[in-house]
């Protein structure tokens, strides 16, 4: 219950018994039992409302004024004086005539097309009313005014025509008429003592409705009152039928509608409809109920018997006094309810006043009330579950909800709360509980914002989307976005632009950060690592105060403050009692940096190189960096500056693992190996290892320049390396002589020959010859030594006899060379045989091919006039054709198209 109306006594009233009321424009006409008419003026301006007596007509009529009707448009005031219907000029109040000279009129009702339209349009909107006013002036002649008069059982219908009322129709009804009410222009509702009737004037049909038979719960009705209800809130013109203390709606056709049944506190003397309420004049009080539900809204203790509505004000009287009953506007009513925390009643009120809102306004009003309710639940009832249930169902600015958490504005309070988790004091327990609910709210807002962001981006990109995008891709893309948005009732988010989204997301994410800090700090890391808009300064200071360095690094990384992150990583990497001690955290961080930030990688790798040379390699061998050949050069230069050792390892890695083929890198690696070797003492294990590496490199690689390395070789050592290099530039003779003369290792020389010998290659086909030659030169003996002989015997097959004979010492005994010659000639014979076999094989193959050719050439088919293509069944004629294995023919063209 709340106040929907107030009332006011109209002061200056003479002591006369009021029997009728009527209003027109700003005038209120009051008729009395003695036939006197009082004229009041209504002043309803912004600051005051008052009604004052301005005139009176003592000689208005001689008998009791039972009813008064002001008829706009035709400037007539009708007065039911006792049982006569009198017409007066509405302005001058001069008597004009007695309408239709009728006697015995007991009841009447007026149909006025102008006022009716006004009534209807009242609830639409203001513009329409203005239009209507124009209509009134323009189409005076179109005004339709009809009167329905009751004289006992007789019903008489009159219509205004030019300047008088003319009789349209007359009905004799079954019972004495008790009340009349116009519906639309052609419908009338007539009440009798025990039943009622609906009359359709367009067809002159009368439908009687017997209350007793059709509806059991209406048995006791005798229709004493009909209240007209005109509203666009209801689909049709309906009546409110009131009998005794109950009212129900009646449809235009006369059928009772049981949707709303009102049970009044007492039997009403009259019921007035003033959207959106019914006002019943009960003995001793005025009762106000909602028109859509019949719910009791207000009781005013006022004893009145008569009422008339004018300009949204109800004038009412009893035999002594005159009152105005003034509606209280919606805002004021809702405030009353909200002050009493009657939220569901407030929502009902919005529903009741639906017609004054646009759909958006209505949603906004409901949202406002719901959020007030939620805030009340939150603050007063501490029912966070329900409060957030409402918050989540609404689309309100999240800032409003964050205002409920002032503690999040101060770092001190945040930390105090964080540390209060173990306390048992009630206030912090309560705060923690409310904060716990906030987690879910904020994460939900995050996801709503993400959707809105995605949606905005998709709109933005739609124009710039490449043509090559298939339609179905676009459609699925859009339908995903659209269906998403039609599903939700997002109102608040829908109106956010991209910058709004970013700004709000900053608020939400920062709040979520703080909340995590208090209730669940294990989630700070994940939050800072996913796409987020957390505020840098806020997070930085809170994390620092809690020594949360790993999260601080996540923060910096997300915001692109890599230097800050790396500085911390170095500090932490240096302190043995930190969890981030050592090189690995910084290495991982550097590995995750983009190539565009490679300068940073270089800068911060220095610390790792210096302290953890072994591990530092992992930074540079990381695929992202080393996969890029441009970066390799930069890395090598960088490592050269800071650590030759790491540089060597790196070069080794890219050459041997990634098959780098830049000669510069190969030369560098060889040179560095050399440098290392030279710097170490002979016999040193490490030196040996480097020599081995160098030798492997030089043997396998083809990318270095041997001359360059040769020039760097120390004069009197590393003969083996030198030999490898010489072999690379084709100086096999020199290489062999090193093995012989410097290294004194004929076995190695022999191996060398085995390795390089190749009969097809001009340069190396004589290596064994060269080997013998060097042997002989060294021995300088008359006789060939056993060593040479052994070589000859072993490799004789690969040594040209003609050449070798020339270098043998003159005194060489031929019998010693027996085995050699045998071998050599055997080899020659071998080769000869091989050639012969190959020759014969080729020859027989040639014969085979020739036979096949002859075979083909011997086949023929005749193309006659009748010969047709197997496919198109047309003649072959002189066209090119193809024959298949079944001897059928087909056009060449047909065959090709067949293949397709």
């Amino acid at each position: 219950m709340h106040e929907a109306y107030t009332y006011q006594l109209i002061q200056d009233k003479p002591p006369l018994e009021v029997t009728a009321l009527c209003s027109y424009d700003n005038k209120l006409f009051v008729g009395t039992k003695d036939g006197i008419l009082l004229i009041y003026e209504i002043n309803d301006n912004d600051d005051a409302f008052n009604v004052s007596l301005v005139d009176s007509r003592k000689d208005f009529t001689k008998k009791e004024i039972k009813e008064l009707y002001a008829i706009e448009g035709i400037n007539i005031l009708l007065c039911l004086s006792d049982t006569q219907l009198l017409a007066y000029n509405l302005e001058t109040l001069q008597f004009i005539t007695q309408v239709a000279k009728l006697q015995g009129v007991q009841y009447l009702d007026i149909y006025n097309s102008v006022s009716k339209e006004n009534e209807v349009n009242l609830f639409k909107n203001d513009i329409n009313i203005e239009n209507n006013n124009n209509n009134i002036n323009d189409n005076n002649s179109n005004i339709i005014i009809k009167l329905a008069l009751a004289i006992r059982k007789k019903l008489i219908i009159l219509q205004w025509n030019q300047n008088s009322f003319e009789k349209l129709n007359e009905f004799n009804l079954s019972h004495t008429i008790k009340t009349i009410s116009w519906g639309k222009e052609y419908t009338l509702c007539i009440g009798f003592a025990r039943n009622y009737a609906f009359i359709d004037l367009s067809t002159d049909t009368i439908d009687y409705f017997s209350l007793g038979n059709s509806l059991i719960d209406l048995t006791s009705f005798t229709p004493s009152k009909f209240t007209k209800v005109y509203t666009n809130s209801l689909p049709n013109n309906q009546f409110l039928l009131t009998k005794d203390d109950a009212s129900t709606y009646i449809a235009e056709t006369g059928q009772p509608l049981k949707s709303v049944n009102i049970k009044w506190s007492a039997i009403p003397l009259a019921v007035v409809y003033m959207h959106p309420y019914f006002i019943a004049l009960l003995p001793q009080m005025v009762e106000i109920r909602a028109f859509n539900s019949g719910i009791l809204i207000q009781n005013i203790e006022l004893n009145v018997t008569n009422a008339v509505v004018s300009n949204d004000i109800l004038f009412s009287s009893n035999d002594k006094d005159l009152y105005t009953i003034i509606p209280i506007d919606f805002d004021n009513q809702v405030v009353q309810l909200l002050n009493k925390k009657q939220f569901s009643e407030s929502l009902q009120l919005v529903e009741l006043y639906s017609s004054i809102f646009t759909p958006d306004e209505k949603v906004a009003e409901i949202t406002r009330i719901r959020s007030l309710e939620a805030k009340y639940l939150f603050k007063e009832e501490k029912d966070y579950e329900r409060a957030f249930g409402i918050f989540l169902s609404l689309e309100i600015d999240p800032n409003e909800i964050l205002q409920l958490y002032p503690m999040l504005d101060s770092n001190e309070e945040i930390l105090a709360l964080k540390n209060s988790k173990n306390n048992k004091d009630e206030s912090s327990f309560d705060k923690l509980q409310s904060i716990n609910h906030l987690v879910h709210y904020l994460t939900e807002q995050r996801s709503r914002l993400t959707k809105q962001r995605l949606y905005l981006l998709s709109i933005q990109n739609r124009s710039s989307m490449p043509k090559s995008f298939s339609n179905s891709t676009i459609n699925s893309y859009l339908s995903a976005a659209v269906s998403e948005f039609s599903l939700s009732t997002i109102v608040y988010y829908r109106q956010l632009s991209l910058p709004d989204v970013e700004a709000l997301s900053n608020v939400i994410d920062t709040a979520l950060f703080k909340v995590y800090m208090i209730v669940n700090d294990a989630l700070i890391g994940p939050l800072l690592r996913v796409h987020n808009n957390c505020d840098m300064d806020v997070c930085e200071s809170l994390l620092k105060s809690q020594n949360k360095y790993s999260e601080l690094i996540d923060l910096y990384k997300g915001k692109g403050y890599h230097k800050k992150a790396l500085d911390i990583l170095i500090t932490k990497g240096e302190s043995p009692d930190e969890s981030m001690y050592g090189p690995y955290h910084i290495i991982t961080y550097l590995q995750k940096l983009n190539k565009t930030d490679f300068d940073l990688v270089l800068e911060y790798s220095v610390w790792v190189i210096e302290h953890y040379p072994e591990e530092s390699l992992e930074i540079f061998t990381y695929e992202k960096f080393s996969g890029d050949e441009l970066l390799r050069g930069i890395i090598v230069d960088h490592l050269e500056k800071h650590s030759k050792d790491v540089c060597i390892k790196y070069l080794d890695y890219i050459i041997n693992r990634l098959n780098d083929s830049s000669s510069e890198n190969h030369n560098k690696l060889a040179s560095y190996y050399l440098e290392k070797i030279v710097s170490l003492k002979e016999g040193d294990e490490e030196r040996k290892k480097y020599e081995e590496n160098l030798k492997n490199l030089l043997e396998k690689s083809t990318c270095y320049s041997p001359n360059l390395i040769l020039s760097q070789l120390p004069k009197q050592s590393l003969y083996e390396i030198r030999a490898v290099l010489l072999s690379h530039i084709g100086e096999h003779r020199k290489a062999l002589s090193i093995y012989f003369n410097e290294l004194n290792d004929p076995k190695m020389a022999e191996q060398y020959c085995i390795k390089y010998y190749n009969p097809e290659d001009e340069k190396v086909k004589d290596v064994f010859f060269t080997l013998i030659q060097i042997h002989l030169e060294k021995e300088k003996k008359e006789e060939i030594s056993d060593d040479v002989l052994e070589l000859l015997n072993k490799y004789g097959a690969y040594i040209d006899a003609a050449k070798i004979m020339e270098i043998f010492p003159e005194s060489t005994k031929l019998n010693k060379l027996g085995i050699y010659f045998e071998k050599f000639f055997q080899e020659l014979m071998n080769r000869k045989h091989n050639q012969k076999i190959i020759y014969n094989l080729l020859k027989s193959e040639q014969l085979q091919v020739r036979e096949e050719l002859m075979n083909y050439q011997s086949q023929s088919i005749g193309i006659s006039e009748e010969r047709v293509c197997k496919k198109c069944l047309k003649r072959i004629g002189t066209s090119v054709f193809v024959k298949d294995s079944n001897n059928s023919v087909i056009h060449y063209g047909c065959m090709k198209s067949k293949k397709k």
Partner: protein
């Protein structure tokens, strides 16, 4: 052990790694070579026996493509366990595991993030070894670093390890203490007790 007998499992991972295929293999014993992007989310249920207990597992398959993701937070919040899937032949799908895990944690905001039951599946191991980009060792190292997440190498196509992986996640989810609302009892019921329990559960 909780008395729960309905488990909600969420499958996350890049588009095309085989989330839908894994679910289909597990529930319907079917596999298709055709790729049809999942839009939004879809779920299937299956009953499993875990240690003599009949459990209904509700498996939510999600969209890997960002533009098809439309799940609200409420969806994640009720999850009992989360499967992270990558394709062993696709480096990027492995590198984004971190992000999927973090995103899940933020959205679901579980009470005990460190011990929330995750499981990692390296899928498509049926393809040639030469295509493989992430070694088992590397994947296991990652799982280790995230608090010993169980790891399975699977093939939805050949039905390798699929059954086992789902069995494991069901078991782990059951082991997890039911997500009791932390503050829903008066302060006199000591918070300390809960605190200690926290630490007991924690894997770190």
């Amino acid at each position: 052990m909780s008395g729960k007998n309905l488990l909600k499992a969420i499958i996350l991972g890049d588009s095309g790694v085989g989330k839908t295929s894994l679910m289909n293999q597990y529930v319907n014993k079917k596999f298709s070579n055709q790729y049809k992007a999942t839009i939004g989310a879809d779920f299937l249920t299956k009953e499993v026996m875990v240690d003599d207990k009949l459990i209904t597992i509700q498996i939510w398959d999600t969209a890997g493509q960002e533009r098809f993701q439309s799940l609200g937070v409420a969806f994640y919040r009720g999850a009992d366990c989360c499967m992270l899937v990558y394709d062993v032949n696709n480096m990027k799908s492995f590198e984004t595991l971190d992000n999927w895990r973090d995103e899940f944690l933020v959205q679901a905001s579980p009470k005990h993030p460190e011990s929330f039951p995750f499981i990692v599946l390296g899928n498509k191991i049926d393809l040639e070894e030469s295509k493989r980009q992430i070694s088992q060792k590397r994947a296991m190292a990652w799982c280790q670093s995230k608090g010993n997440i169980p790891y399975f190498e699977t093939s939805a196509k050949e039905a390798i390890n699929v059954e086992q992986a789902f069995q494991q996640i069901a078991r782990n989810a059951l082991m997890q203490e039911a997500d009791v609302p932390e503050f829903n009892f008066p302060p006199s019921v000591s918070l300390d007790a809960e605190q200690k329990q926290d630490q007991g559960d924690c894997n770190c």
